[in-house]
C-alpha cells in the first residue's frame, strides 16, 4: 500500500519512523521482497564522499568604509570570481593559489573557512561615485561573512568511469596516479549507496529535495551540469549553508601534479512511498556496471577496455586483457556509509524531515562535445620536412650539414631508413670540444622521443615540455622519419590560437 510523504514525516515527528541505509535495504528486499520491505521501511538513506571538482561557495563580505566595488578578489591568494555585485564572490574548489600553485587551492580556502581558520582577503576595484575605494586587505573568518552558501554545479555523479593506463610512463590525473602498463586502476563512486542509483527515475530526487550536504541540511537545486540520465551518468546541482558544515564531511584534496579538488559528503534520503521505489533501492554493487577507460590516450574519446561491476572493483582486483590489475577507490565508501548512517540517525531523532521535489528532473538530456571552430591541428599539418643522416657518417660531416642546412636536430637513420637516434648541434659541439667520437653512432641519443603524424599538436607540445626537449622526429608506423616538429615552430603556432 502506498504511503504519502506526509505520513512519513508524521512518523519522523512521533519517533516511529523506520530508516535503513541503502546497503541494508538491498538485503532486506532480498529477504522480504519489495512489497513487504516497502511496508516495513519508510526511508532509505544513501551517501557518497569523493572528489567533486565542480564545487564552490558564494560569499558576501559586507561593505567596507569607504565602500569598494570589488572587481577582483583573492582569499589566501586564491582568486574568487567577483564579476557580480560589489562584495559578492564565488570561490571554486580547483582555483589554484597564485603563490603556492598545486599545493593550495579554492578547496583549501573552503576547508579553512569551515574549520573557522582566519583567511586573508585582498580585493581591488575601480573607483566610482558610489564605490570610491580602490583596494582593501583584511583577515576574515567564516563568522565575519554575511553569507557563505555552497553551490556546487555538478556533484554526486551516479557512477564514474574507471581509469587505467596502457602507456609505459606514470600518468598523474584527476583519478590519481596511474602506473604504467596497466599497473593499477582507480574508480570513484559509492555503488550500492549511490544516491541517484537508488532513485534512477528521479521519482523523489528533484528540485527542492532536502539532502545532507557536508554535515548541513542542504537541498537539490536541479540537475547538475553534464547531466546524462539516459546513460546512467546523472548529476546533481546542490546548495547548502557553509556555516553549518563540518570538516568531518568536507575535505580539501590535492591530486598530485593535477591540482586541487574538494571531497564533498552528500547523503540523500529516499522516502519509500511504494514497492516500486523499494525495489529500486535494492540495487547492489553487482548490479552497477561501469566502463574501464585507458587514460593513456589524451583525447576526448578514450579507448574502452571493458565493463566491470562495482562488486568486482571492490574485490581489489580486475582482469584487464588477462592481467590482474589492482584497484583503488578515490572516493571513500567508509565515509559514504558514515554519512548514510548519520543521516538515518538524524531522521530517527526527528531532526531531519523529508521534502518531495517541487519540480521533477528531466529523464533525458543532450550531452554535446564542445563546438570548435576548427579541429585541433594535427602533427602532420604542421611538421616540417626533416633532414636525416646515416649512422655511419662522421661528426665532421654532421657538423657541416647542421651549419649548411641551418638546423639544430638531425634524426639518425639506419641503412634501411629506420630511426635509430638523434643528434643536436650541442651534441656535435660537445663531441668536437672533447675531441671524442668519430661516428655519429657513438654520440647520438638512442632513445628518441617521437611524434606520430595523426596526433593533435597539443599532445606533441606536452611531450616536448615533459621531456624538456626541443624537437620530435615524426615517424610513421614503420618507424621511418616523415618529418620533424620543433618547439620553436609549435610555440609560434600555439601563440596564434
Amino acid at each position: 500500500m502506498p504511503k504519502s510523504l506526509e505520513e512519513i514525516n508524521e512518523r519522523i515527528r512521533d519517533g516511529s519512523v523506520h530508516v535503513v541505509t541503502a546497503d541494508e535495504m538491498t538485503h532486506l528486499v532480498d529477504e522480504l521482497g519489495a512489497e513487504s520491505a516497502a511496508k516495513e521501511v519508510d526511508v532509505v538513506t544513501t551517501g557518497t564522499f569523493g572528489a567533486m571538482c565542480s564545487s564552490g561557495v558564494w560569499m558576501n563580505f559586507g561593505h567596507s568604509d569607504p565602500p569598494i566595488k570589488m572587481s577582483k578578489v583573492w582569499l589566501n591568494e586564491v582568486e574568487a570570481y567577483a564579476g557580480v555585485a560589489a562584495v559578492d564572490a564565488f570561490i571554486g574548489a580547483t582555483q589554484l593559489s597564485e603563490t603556492r600553485g598545486l599545493e593550495y587551492g579554492g578547496a583549501h580556502v573552503i576547508e579553512d573557512l569551515v574549520a573557522h581558520r582566519e583567511v586573508y582577503l585582498k580585493a581591488v576595484g575601480y573607483a566610482t561615485d558610489c564605490y570610491p575605494r580602490r583596494s582593501v586587505e583584511t583577515a576574515i573568518t567564516i563568522g565575519d561573512l554575511n553569507d557563505a552558501t555552497m553551490l556546487n554545479p555538478r556533484n554526486a555523479y551516479q557512477r564514474y568511469n574507471v581509469a587505467t593506463n596502457s602507456t609505459d610512463r606514470v600518468l598523474y590525473t584527476y583519478m590519481g596516479t596511474l602506473l604504467p602498463k596497466y599497473g593499477n586502476a582507480t574508480y570513484s563512486g559509492s555503488g550500492t549507496l549511490s544516491p541517484i542509483y537508488n532513485d534512477p527515475d528521479y521519482e523523489t530526487i528533484g528540485v527542492g529535495t532536502k539532502i545532507f550536504l557536508c554535515g548541513a541540511e542542504g537541498y537539490v537545486v536541479g540537475h547538475g551540469t553534464q547531466y546524462d540520465p539516459e546513460n546512467n551518468f546523472g548529476t546533481l546541482m546542490v546548495c547548502g549553508d557553509l556555516k553549518a558544515m563540518s570538516t568531518d564531511y568536507l575535505r580539501a584534496a590535492i591530486l598530485h601534479r593535477y591540482g586541487t579538488s574538494l571531497y564533498v559528503g552528500i547523503g540523500v534520503p529516499i522516502p519509500v512511498l511504494n514497492a516500486g521505489i523499494a525495489r529500486k533501492t535494492a540495487i547492489s554493487d553487482a548490479d552497477i556496471r561501469t566502463t574501464v577507460l585507458d587514460y593513456g590516450v589524451g583525447r576526448r574519446s578514450r579507448p574502452e577496455l571493458r565493463t566491470v561491476s562495482y562488486e568486482e572493483l571492490k574485490s581489489g582486483i580486475i582482469d584487464l586483457n588477462g592481467k590482474e590489475v589492482r584497484t583503488s577507490s578515490m572516493s571513500s565508501y567508509f565515509k559514504a556509509k558514515e554519512i548514510a548512517t548519520e543521516l538515518a540517525q538524524r531522521i530517527r531523532k526527528g531532526t531531519f524531515e523529508l521534502a518531495l521535489p517541487t519540480i521533477r528532473l528531466p529523464n533525458r538530456a543532450i550531452l554535446k562535445p564542445m563546438k570548435q571552430l576548427s579541429e585541433a591541428p594535427l602533427v602532420r599539418e604542421v611538421m616540417l620536412p626533416s633532414i636525416t643522416v646515416h649512422e655511419a657518417i662522421s661528426v665532421q660531416e654532421a657538423a657541416k650539414i647542421i651549419v649548411g642546412k641551418q638546423v639544430n636536430h638531425l634524426p639518425v637513420v639506419s641503412a634501411d631508413n629506420k630511426l635509430i637516434g638523434i643528434v643536436t648541434a650541442y651534441d656535435i659541439s660537445k663531441a668536437v670540444a672533447l675531441n671524442k667520437g668519430d661516428s655519429l653512432k657513438e654520440i647520438m641519443t638512442k632513445r628518441v622521443i617521437t611524434a606520430k603524424p595523426d596526433e593533435p599538436i597539443d599532445l606533441a607540445a606536452r611531450r616536448l615540455e615533459r621531456h624538456n626537449i626541443s624537437a620530435l622526429p615524426v615517424v610513421d608506423q614503420a618507424n621511418t622519419v616523415v618529418g620533424i616538429i620543433t618547439s620553436e615552430d609549435l610555440s609560434k603556432l600555439l601563440a596564434c590560437r
Binding site: L179, T186, R251, S261, S328, S329, S332
Partner: protein
Amino acid sequence: MKIVLKFPQEIMQGPLLADVVLETGVRINIDRALVDASVGEIVIDVPDERVEEVAEAFRRRGTEVHEMDTPIVLDEAECVQCGACVSVCPVEVFTYNKDRTISIDLTRCVLCKTCMTMCPHGALKTAEE
C-alpha cells in the same frame, strides 16, 4: 627484516652484494635500490635470524648498515579511508578491511613514497616530516 645499506662512492664499483650472498649463503631480496653519482643506497630484506651475520658482512666491506626506521606515518586526522594508496603500493602495505577502512602493514614498506603523493589528503608522511 629490512635493512638499509649505504655505499660510499669508493666501493660502488665492486660486486658487493654478490660477494655477501656468496659468503653468507643468505638469499637476500632487494626491495629498492638508488645509485647515482654520489651515493648508493639499497634496501634489502633478510630473514630475521640471519640479519646480524649479513649486516656484519657488509660492514666489513665498508658499507654503512642501518635498520629501516618506521617507514611511513599515517596522519589519522587527515585520512578519509578512501584507499587511493592501495593500488599504487608495490608491496601491498595497504589493504581494505571488510568495513572498507584501510589496514596498514608497515613491516612491508620499502619507502618508495608513491603512496605519499597518491594520497589526496596528505595523510601519509615520512617519519622526518
